[in-house]
Symmetry: C2
Subunit: 155 residues, 2 copies
């Protein structure tokens, strides 16, 4: 996964970039991929797969739910989009203690979880909540990526 600077990227440039990246990966350019990228980049903030499908439908772009999901995954791989996790479905649970909470570096390849302690997080949270007059009940912080083992294995 690579990072692309999309701050000033217009539709034309984005499409060109997409074509280029697809070619590099020996994947094909299709109208669906192009349309989904256009719409994803036109969206401010975050969106769900189904939002995109609905918007495309209203614009007369015919595509399927399966393609949306496959393409969004692809656009993440190519570095156009990121996944954002809100806490909605498929949850894990953990007991609450007064031990310092641990955060996780999660390897998206092998699933390994490296635990780390981050005392700064508590301070940051406190400050943020004070500033916004927000009463925190919980937070989540996770880092996703490739662990050293997997990085070595793929070389």
């Amino acid at each position: 996964m690579q990072i692309i600077n999309m701050s000033e990227m217009n539709v034309e440039v984005a499409r060109k970039k997409l074509a280029e990246l697809l070619k590099k990966k020996k994947l094909r350019s299709t109208v669906e991929r192009s349309a989904i990228l256009d719409e994803a980049l036109a969206t401010e903030g975050h969106f769900e797969a189904d939002d995109l499908l609905a918007i495309l439908k209203t614009k007369g772009v015919k595509t399927s739910r399966a393609t949306i999901y496959r393409t969004l995954e692809l656009l993440c791989d190519l570095g156009f989009l990121r996944k954002v996790c809100f806490r909605e479905a498929h949850l894990h649970f953990q007991k609450i203690t007064d031990e310092p909470r641990r955060e996780h570096l999660i390897c998206t390849n092998c699933g390994a979880q490296i635990e780390v302690q981050l005392p700064q997080i508590a301070e940051i949270n406190q400050r943020l909540c004070a500033e916004s007059d927000f009463r925190m009940t919980d937070y989540c912080f996770n880092i996703f990526g490739i662990c050293s083992k997997c990085a070595k294995g793929n070389e």
Copy 2:
């Protein structure tokens, strides 16, 4: 939602606390709720609803999936458990730009999202990844709680 210090809490104390909190909320004490709390607190690290059901089954505790879900939700409300979000299901997407990324304070009552910028997060991530020889591709950070509007509304 309240925070309970469970670091030195044994089964007895936890059960007593549960009974007390249930009473305060005019909810009933049941063997299922007790068993689920016991098992949840006996678990190191995090677990899923189905994990718990399986463990209870092996221990001869008869309960249903529906009760597990309902009770875990309750135990979160009562402050015994927290929800942990890993990035697995029901994702949102967001385009990648070079603008500083914003994090969210999410009101669990009204759904309002307050955006904040946190330059420190990038530094923290860099340090963590360096320490653990981890190649980050993404992260998530969200704070959950009650926004000022909802806090006022409920007074």
